[in-house]
């Protein structure tokens, strides 16, 4: 079957099984590898993308269900919030191995887009779905607060 999806602002035609999770279509068919596989059951958040601005586990959304939405991956995320978050991530030297960070950044950008002054509790709630085994949670939390401060200024 053929499906047209909107990925990073571009209309893309995919000739695949509509049941394929968006994660694998993005990685294997479209060839963008910033979106990571970690668990396949929405337990780790490594595959987080934005679907119409909402942080979404791409391992749980089929290509068929993604039709008609606007999908943004780490490669396509832009704008003031994203740039600020990415800048702060770099300044705080957040990543260790870095594998989960695409998902962490996208989850943080979604949070900051919806809540300009997140509290620790807001951050915990928004970020609890994104696992980091190296354990960069401290710096992620600090990074979100710092990005919020800069965006307000």
């Amino acid at each position: 079957m053929t499906f047209r999806i909107n990925l990073n602002g571009k209309e893309t035609t995919l000739d695949i099984d509509g049941d394929m999770p968006l994660l694998w279509a993005i990685r294997d068919i479209i060839g963008l590898t910033g979106t990571k596989y970690g668990c396949g059951i929405a337990q780790c958040g490594a595959c987080t993308v934005h679907v119409d601005g909402e942080p979404t586990r791409s391992c749980q959304l089929t290509v068929e269900d993604a039709v008609g939405t606007k999908i943004t991956t780490i490669e396509g995320v832009n704008g003031k919030v994203a740039e600020t978050a990415q800048t702060v991530w770099a300044e705080l030297d957040v990543p260790q191995c870095g594998y989960c960070q695409s998902g962490q950044v996208l989850a943080a950008v979604a949070l900051l887009s919806q809540n300009t002054k997140p509290t620790d509790e807001n951050i915990d709630e928004a970020m609890a779905g994104n696992l980091c085994r190296c354990a960069t949670y401290h710096r992620i939390r600090a990074g979100i607060h710092e990005a919020a401060r800069r965006l307000e200024a």
Binding site: D28, D93, C97
Partner: protein, 779 residues
């Protein structure tokens, strides 16, 4: 191939394999920049280096397979435009060594870090020296060679400039990416010296001038971010499953549910019917003791990952579970407990602990249990391999690329020179990716297919087919006399050894495992014995971040706090008292048959100094405000442990509410000798606390009918952003270079669980002796 190389070339700090050689062969001589009056040097003008600033010291680095290489011709290339390329030969799994070691070279050679590109070495130990990235030894073994490489390169650049100007080498100085001659007013950039400098022989160490510590630009400052930072935050960083070759097929494998299980029957018709599935291939089954050989099984090879996963899941296989098919966790725990109830084989015998226990007025017996654990790095095992014209090329996130190369060559019946292993970034590893069975699987299938195959492990595969952290019972018997003085300490350990992964299982532990906290109790007690008791493996056992130090620190540091409580003493005061006065542990006095294992490091350079252990205990207690009053249900707990020749003490602040454990704050004191990159020391301590909390609260792999019962993050849980050690304060004991750098990737983990358990006891009166904590406090 080209596609892949382009992919690598996109990385800001990574260049393709061929680039270094071409940079050098394309080097052209350009005019010397000299006497440019208007040119202002932006960098400070301290001449770098003096003789004797850095005396050589011995480490076990040269004793590792293929030793240590310290030749700038191998590790450094300088392009005509002055761009410097430095080889990282250690794997990057999040500790930062891929940044820190090249940074050390750059600093010592007076290169400007902004003009340095880091290139990852392929697996080639005869060329680069040992590449096993584990044992917390990247800095311990390689900071000295890195300084030698940098100083030698600087010397060669100065030699080349001096020759150009017809002056003596001691008239010139290397400063900020150029060599200058002050009185002539001449200067020449590194790019213009590259060809002449690289044509020189590597100078011997005794002519090298090393920097004084005050001259370091980057070393010890903690100001250099990791080289992959930008790529990571923008999704461009390349991990194991991100390398693409045209026509790559994806394999997902059904592995035996019990190690060594064989196939009774298979029906692959449903798998073959799935769109995109192309081929089904069998890999030979291997028994326990097959080192890093693939487990074997049935591979479904498909056009894409999704089809391969579906195909694999559609296989109907009936297994003959074989000799380990009755392995069951609860029964095994009982077996380990029974094993420690009997005398084992002595590994340390100081005084006569058995007699002292017999004579004791009171004997306290404590048993601590820990089940198997899986590493569960965020990136599950994965590798790409290609096979063409009798050669095999692998791209994989491996901790030991040369072992991956030689093991794979052996498995395929090939010569190692026909196998290449390229190292991608590692999406976490924690010891799992030292064992490159997944890379060998990919190579085997690529050879069968005759083209590129990527093997993708699902998370379920990763949890069910790991090289598990040992499960153990540690039993400690303590004798007290009638005055409540400690007269005996007997520690028995029953834990299946990782030796069982390499060879026939004799039920005994390796000297490495014994050396990690069993034989080297640093307490001042007259009668101390340590025994290992038989324990046989029924699954693949392998090292896991911090290895046997985890159960040993948990047992010893929990027992110490239990003893303090029994004696009505403060945990911290008693810990300091039982460590005793500052001294160097002596193996003979301690009743060892030989030397301490000591990470194989020479005791002359890396002795066990009890004063440094007490030092971190005092430091952390003072910083944490030990003794301060806290609300009901909250308390501090303390633990200290030396591992990887580093000394670490922790104070954990625990808060227990309705059986749920929270950790508002952790204080960590680290004595790791000279800290080359304090920023990454702090990040490793933050990481160790979260990793340690996951292990303490959740991690337990259980077996039934020989099969792992857990499968993914819903039942093998991790600490998350809504409950993690919220504040981690790290205090690094300051040392000059004279106190050798030790290691920080692992030693932060072992003290966490006992410090937490001790805090929980102080908060609730409940003593945790079995890990993980799980729901124990809810009952």
């Amino acid at each position: 191939m080209l596609h892949q190389i382009e992919k690598f070339a996109e990385q800001s700090k990574t260049v393709p394999a061929a680039a270094i050689d071409s940079v050098i062969s394309n080097a052209s001589r350009r005019g010397v920049l000299k006497g440019l009056g208007g040119f202002v040097l932006a960098l400070h003008l301290l001449p770098a280096g003096r003789a004797g600033a850095f005396p050589a010291y011995e480490t076990f680095g040269p004793g590792m397979p293929n030793g240590v290489v310290n030749d700038p011709h191998i590790f450094v290339a300088i392009a005509p435009d002055g761009e410097v390329t430095i080889i990282a030969h250690r794997s990057e799994m999040g500790t930062g060594s891929r940044t820190t070691l090249p940074m050390v070279i750059a600093d010592e050679m007076e290169a400007d870090w902004d003009r340095v590109t880091v290139k990852q070495a392929e697996g080639d130990e005869p060329k680069y020296g040992n590449q096993d990235t584990d044992g917390s030894r990247s800095l311990r073994h390689h900071i000295q060679p890195a300084r030698e490489i940098g100083a030698a390169m600087r010397h060669m650049l100065k030699q080349a400039a001096a020759k150009q100007w017809g002056v003596k080498i001691d008239e010139v100085e290397a400063v900020g990416h150029q060599v200058i001659h002050k009185s002539l007013g001449s200067r020449v950039g590194y790019g213009d010296l590259a060809e002449a400098a690289m044509a020189l022989k590597t100078p011997p160490r005794d002519v090298l001038q090393f920097k004084d510590e005050k001259e370091f630009r980057y070393i010890g400052k903690g100001t250099v971010p990791i080289v992959d930072l930008h790529d990571i935050t923008t999704g461009k960083a390349v991990y194991g499953s991100d390398v693409r070759l045209p026509g790559t097929r994806v394999a997902v494998i059904a592995r035996p549910p019990v190690v060594g299980a064989t196939i009774k029957s298979i029906d692959d018709s449903a798998a073959k019917a799935i769109a995109g599935v192309e081929t089904i291939m069998h890999l030979p089954i291997t028994p326990l003791g097959s080192k890093f050989k693939p487990l074997g099984g049935v591979a479904v090879i498909a056009e894409n990952t999704w089809a391969a996963i579906q195909g694999r899941d559609a296989l109907k296989i009936e297994w003959d579970r074989g000799e380990h098919g009755t392995f069951e966790t609860r029964a095994y725990e009982a077996e380990l407990r029974a094993s420690t109830a009997e005398p084992g084989t002595s590994v340390r015998n100081q005084g006569n602990a058995d007699a002292a226990l017999k004579d004791a007025a009171k004997v306290l017996t404590y048993e601590y249990y820990q089940p198997h654990m899986a590493h569960a790095p965020m990136e599950p095992p994965t590798a790409l391999a290609n096979y063409a014209d009798g050669k095999c090329e692998i791209w994989a996130p491996v901790q030991s690329p040369y072992v991956a190369r030689t093991d794979t060559a052996e498995y395929l019946g090939m010569d190692a020179k026909d196998v290449t292993v390229n190292v991608t970034l590692l999406g976490g590893a924690f010891g799992r990716k030292s064992k490159a069975d997944f890379a060998t699987e990919a190579a085997f299938l690529a050879k069968q297919v005759g083209g590129p195959v990527r093997v993708q492990w699902t998370r379920e595969d990763d949890i069910r087919h790991s090289y598990y952290h040992t499960s153990s019972v540690e039993r400690i018997d303590i004798g007290l006399d009638s005055d409540k003085r400690v007269t005996a300490w007997r520690h028995r350990s029953a834990a299946p050894s990782f030796l069982s992964t390499f060879t026939e299982d004799k039920g005994v532990q390796h000297e490495i495992e014994i050396g990690m906290g069993l034989e080297n109790l640093p307490y001042e007690i007259s009668n101390v014995s340590a025994e290992q008791c038989p324990a046989f493996a029924h699954t693949r056992v392998g090292w896991f971040r911090s290895v046997s130090n985890i159960p040993r620190a948990f047992a010893v540091q929990s027992a110490t706090a239990e003893l303090a409580h029994e004696l009505g003493r403060d945990q911290k005061e008693f810990l300091l008292e039982i460590i005793g006065p500052p001294r160097i542990l002596d193996a003979k006095t301690a009743g060892l048959p030989g030397k301490f294992w000591n990470q194989y490091e020479p005791e002359k350079e890396f002795p066990f100094e009890t004063g440094r252990l007490s030092g971190v205990v005092r430091l952390v207690a003072q910083k944490a405000g030990w003794g301060k009053s806290l609300p009901k249900g909250e308390a501090l707990g303390i633990a200290a442990h030396r591992s990887f020749v580093s000394y670490i003490a922790m104070v954990v602040h625990a808060k227990v509410e309705k059986g749920i454990v929270r950790v508002p704050e952790v204080h960590v004191a680290v004595d790791c000798g000279f800290a080359a990159n304090p920023e990454r020391v702090r990040s490793q301590m933050q990481g160790a606390c979260v990793f340690g909390m996951t292990a303490a609260l959740y991690s337990g792999i259980s077996f039934d009918n020989g099969e792992v019962q857990e499968s993914n993050f819903h039942d093998y849980e991790m600490v998350r952003a809504d409950n993690f050690p919220e504040l981690v304060h790290t205090y690094i004991v300051p040392h000059s270079f004279e106190v050798h750098a030790t290691g920080v990737g692992e030693p932060g983990v072992p003290p966490f669980a006992p410090a937490l358990a001790n805090a929980i006891f102080n908060a609730t009166g409940r003593r945790i002796r079995n890990l993980p904590i799980g729901d124990q406090l809810k009952a």
